[in-house]
Symmetry: C2
Subunit: 719 residues, 2 copies
């Protein structure tokens, strides 16, 4: 039997490999096709223009097809890897490898004769308008500005003639405006909030202070390196201190997606996970704003690169303004979405009741299933409009989207139907997956197809050193300081792991490719690519080795972790109380006032507001909440409301659950398990370790497990 | 209680309306913001260029935000409408109304000073290159060709100065390359294949013959109209017969999305639904290819608009070539996806087994839930690459995608896990919803923002007449002819309903906006817009009235329909046999050979191929199929395989089911109901009305009902 299984396994593997080859062939064919020469340059008729437009469209399709097939290939291979349990290569790393391979083929394998008709007009125009009308023998053609071209670049670039390379180069803004938002939103949306809030102080310290430290340390080291290069005569262009700082900012954004995937798979300690993930999510936001405020540094006067206090303060102001503006905007739109969904869901329930209980014949003709679609669409559109609104207002869309995601996960999710929650989660998961792999494969591709790389060995060595030192200067001193305040210390092996997990990824790449106009920026871009490649492949690939080398426990169940905390007794409890006091204040405010206004969970406002505010409370509380109070407990949301109410207003009525019974293994039980643990959080945070179950005040939605919520629902009903 | 409900309902409605106002305000603010003047035109420094790029980016974000908020507003309103059960206005109609409103505001409410720096260069260049390098006082700027501009348009267009209008105008290719594909794919994917195949002959006749008839009738009438206009002196430009035919082709694509939504909701007769939906899906494809082959009509010689037999045949050849090429390509990629998913799923099952039964401790550390994501992503990418591949090869991507969708629904779906099926379905549902509403709201917007409309009353009247006559010449004669062959006649009220349901929609719009270069095309575009508006609002809004006026039964359950067919006895059976003989041949081939090769359902090839082909059959059949044969029936796919095997190879073993017991009402039962009906189809098609259940050979996946497949699965297991 075992032999048979091996044979059939081999057969299957062969089959799959055959298919992979087939797909690769497809890529080659398409590439070959894409390089077919343009044949028509005969006359000046409209037909020619039309044909050229058509040809250009076909070319574009073929170019895009390369990327799609690259992604397909990545998915197929990673599927195989997951079956074979190869953990040393994450899908992003694989996407990069394939990207590099295709890049090599495009660069050296194919030579498309460049567009011969690159005409240089030397007319006397005093400006560079965005739109140009050119009168070509009586006909007017419209041209739009693409950008300035360096004169020496125009003459020197050796691959200028290779049209193919130009074609596969995307507008860098694509990354910022299309690919990054879903990634960042998904990150904010899937923050494991329980452990995130437990370690909030440390995470904020690493993300804000740490990124600043890292940025300035890297900037300083790079400035030393650049000065040295100037002395040696290896520098062939300007490289100012602001450029160094800019480099520091962009490489300070960590993106340990590879490491986190392995952590997730091996169930590494949740606190370590929360620290790393929280830090990486927030330091992306910090790095974006930081880099844009460094660019905004403009001293007045002749020399634009001297130190000036006022300009520095202005930059600092820009940083604070943009960050807080984006933060406020993201939270605001999140709250607006919550309000909208709240109102609509309010409408929904009575209708549903009336349909189900009063006029069943109507139900038959109504497709209530249309509503999850609307809810998901609304959610998607509101998230996107957050991004666009922030960009239109001059804030940073990515940062706004991050906080919008966090807010929506916290409030809006409570107002959606379980099916919508599931759908929305899956949608963003897919978008995140596609965008991430696209970016990484483009990264691989661009190593060879980018037209003007500047690889300087000295700069590269300096950069690697700086990145290493910068990360160390972030993690170790801050951990030391934080450990002074924490009772639940960040142990040294955790620190080493965090140091090791400082991968650079999508955000660093997007920031560095955004502007490659000057010599300094080009060199930065080339170096950044190498840093990303190295960290993703070496650090990402070595995660399991590092984990075992540092003796970090794997297979830690979050429940286990929890029960451990219970056995630890009073000492542990006081830790919680100390470390999360800020959070506790906010939590109480959130639970008593914000949640009742924005969602259906939590007690009605009339119970939490002082009696003098009675009318206001009555106005703000949804009629639903009142109706629920006097209804039978036949509805899930009912149960939630009334229980939450009981818990917080009438004190400590003890509802005991059989904790061990909750931990049924297998597919059907895991939703339930998660429910129990999220209850545990609230219990821990609010009441220490009393055996009290607060079903109504779930702070953490079971967003991070795969079971559809209605399993959970069923279980609860059965209870 | 009733009073209380009314009050709270009113309160809720007020609240929602308040929110709608808030969102509208947002739109206004954003529009206002978008119109803020560009302040910086000081010097020629790079900073200025950067700032201008930034400003332009902010402007673009604001423009896109308008559309996103329009969509959001549409969703919110339609949500309200669905609650209030307003059926006269579909979401697409509503999207158009909002589009028109915003269009009016943009056109008359806001005047942005145009870009002053539209410089006209009058250099002597002999060609219009795609890239232009302009030397502006020593610096080189790169410009890319946008297109030719008519000289008189440049001078005459009255709103040339309104920059805002130009900004909100999308590249027409966006519709063809981004928005249409998901719509068409979703249509192909959700074809109700049971009734589609039952009426395949009629649908093909309407779609191919009917569209051709409609195209030529409309073309002829329009040519008459244009000739008349020329005599009266109302024609201010060229308008050839090919233009008339082109107009005929583009308005022949029907899109009764509004009508079908109401049909779905009211459960109108399934045959009528299948006829309308099948026709509309296929005639879109026909219209696209037809219009492109009309454009390809190029007689040699001086006068390019005379009739020439060879050119006509060439056009006909283009039609056949492009259509069959796109068809073949779509089917081919569908099959490739099926093969890939087949192989991977083959890998999947043993691993899953080994994990679950042999090493449960490994399961704990593995997230098998990652796989649905991969499957959905693969599915999405393969569908997209079909489109791109077809476009790159010079075929029509939309047509390829349509047939790819049909193929994938038929084969690939069987290889995916239930969760992936559900996810994929939901993804395309969402994409379809967003794209459709976007197109319709853009349609509304463009009525006022399009720069050069030509509304000619005579042409418009002629067009409406032609559209009406063309539709009649399609439906009535063909129905008469088809009724000669059909025993299950298409009754006259069905014919009237089909006539009435000839709405024009997204495809017509996309085809007409694609090329608005000449006078004729501009007039066509303006007229097409009106035709779409009229049909969507008037015909779409009057569907319920028309249904009751024509006394078409609503609330027809597909089961009911089925049981009726059983009671009709032998006469009915022979109808089936007659009308579907072509389909039966294909069906047998498909079931015995294609399905076993491509999917997991159907009998193993060794059982269906003649004995001489033994080794080949053994090679092509998945090891899984053999393994299944000797395994316990603890797996669903097992059950399917073995049952199907039983049915088709060992003849007519009768498995009796309690048909009335199957029809349990309520949410949990409906998956089961659907299962029963899809079994009924096979039963009917293959064996007449014998009481035989073929679980394994489900031709129709329950794609068209809302229940997650595992409900169905559970029920079957219970059985």
């Amino acid at each position: 039997m075992a032999f048979k299984a091996t044979v059939s396994g081999a057969l299957r593997a062969t089959r799959t490999m055959w298919l992979l080859v087939l797909v690769s062939l497809c890529v080659c064919v398409c590439v070959g096709r894409a390089s077919s020469p343009q044949e028509e340059n005969s006359a000046m008729e409209t037909i020619v223009t039309e044909k050229r437009a058509e040809e250009s469209h076909r070319q574009d399709s073929a170019d895009l097809l390369i990327f799609i097939l690259l992604l397909t290939l990545t998915i197929l291979t990673i599927w195989l890897f997951k079956h074979r349990r190869f953990r040393f290569l994450h899908e992003t790393g694989l996407a990069m490898i394939y990207g590099v391979l295709v890049g090599v083929v495009l660069r050296y394998g194919i030579h498309v004769p460049g567009d011969f008709s690159n005409v240089t007009l030397s007319c006397h125009v005093n400006s560079s308008p965005t739109t140009l009308l050119v009168n070509v023998s009586g006909k007017f053609y419209e041209y739009s500005l693409k950008g300035e071209i360096n004169a020496n670049e125009m003459n020197n670039a050796p691959h200028r003639d290779n049209d193919m390379l130009r074609k596969v180069t995307f507008d860098p803004e694509v990354f910022f405006n299309i690919l990054l938002p879903p990634i960042i939103f998904h990150a904010g949306y899937s923050l494991k909030r329980r452990h995130f809030f437990r370690n909030m102080g440390s995470i904020l310290a690493y993300a804000f202070l740490g990124t600043l430290i890292s940025c300035f340390v890297i900037g300083a080291i790079m400035y030393g390196c650049v000065t040295l290069m100037k002395h040696v005569g290896q520098l062939h262009g300007d490289f100012f201190f602001t450029d160094c700082l800019f480099f520091g900012a962009i490489v300070s954004a960590t993106d340990p997606v590879t490491v986190l995937a392995i952590f997730n798979e091996l169930q590494v300690d949740v606190d370590l996970y929360a620290l790393l993930f929280g830090e990486s999510v927030l330091n992306d936001a910090v790095a974006v704003v930081l880099s844009s405020s460094i660019v905004a540094y403009q001293p007045q006067g002749d020399n634009t690169h001297t130190f000036e206090v006022s300009a520095m303060f202005k930059s600092f102001g820009v940083f604070l303004g943009v960050f807080s503006g984006s933060f406020a905007l993201g939270v605001a739109t999140g709250v607006v979405t919550a309000l909208i969904s709240f109102c609509h869901f309010n409408n929904d329930i009575p209708l549903f009741y009336s349909l189900t209980f009063h006029c069943p014949h109507v139900t038959k003709f109504t497709k209530l299933r249309d509503f999850p679609l609307l809810e998901t669409a609304l959610f998607f559109l509101m998230s996107w409009s957050t991004f666009l609104l922030a960009e239109a207002c001059g804030f940073t869309g990515v940062v706004a989207v991050l906080f919008c995601g966090i807010t929506q996960a916290h409030y809006t999710m409570n107002n959606l139907s379980p099916e919508s929650v599931e759908r929305t989660k899956q949608l963003f998961e897919l978008l995140n997956f596609l965008a991430e792999n696209f970016i990484f494969s483009y990264m691989g591709l661009t190593l060879f197809t980018f037209q003007s790389h500047f690889f300087n060995p000295m700069f590269i060595v300096g950069a690697f050193l700086a990145v290493f030192v910068g990360r160390a200067a972030n993690i170790y001193p801050l951990s030391f300081l934080l450990n002074l305040g924490r009772r639940n210390k960040i142990r040294s092996n955790f620190q080493h792991m965090m140091m090791f997990a400082g991968l650079r990824g999508a955000m660093t790449f997007a920031l560095s490719i955004r502007d490659t106009a000057t010599y300094a920026r080009k060199m930065m871009f080339s170096t950044t690519l190498l840093v990303v490649f190295f960290t993703v492949w070496v650090c990402g690939g070595g995660t399991t080795q590092m984990l075992s080398c540092q003796r970090i426990r794997v297979g830690v169940d979050s429940d286990q972790d929890n029960s451990m905390s219970i056995t630890e007794g009073p000492e542990r409890r006081s830790t919680k109380h100390e470390s999360a006091w800020l959070f506790r204040i906010w939590y109480n405010f959130d639970h008593n006032y914000l949640k009742p206004i924005l969602t259906h969970s939590g007690p009605p406002l009339t119970a939490t507001l002082p009696p003098c505010c009675g009318p206001l409370a009555r106005l703000l509380t949804s009629p639903q909440a009142f109706e629920n109070e006097c209804q039978l407990k036949d509805d899930d949301s009912d149960l939630i409301l009334t229980d939450g109410d009981l818990n917080l207003t009438y004190g400590d009525i003890t509802v005991s659950t059989d904790a061990s019974g909750a931990h049924t293994s297998g597919a059907a039980g895991s939703g339930f398990t998660n429910l129990a643990t999220s209850e545990d959080l609230d219990r821990e945070l609010t009441y220490g370790d009393h055996e009290l179950v607060m079903r109504g005040t779930r702070l953490v939605l079971p967003m991070d497990d795969s079971e559809p919520p209605f399993t959970d629902h069923n279980n609860r009903m059965r209870m």
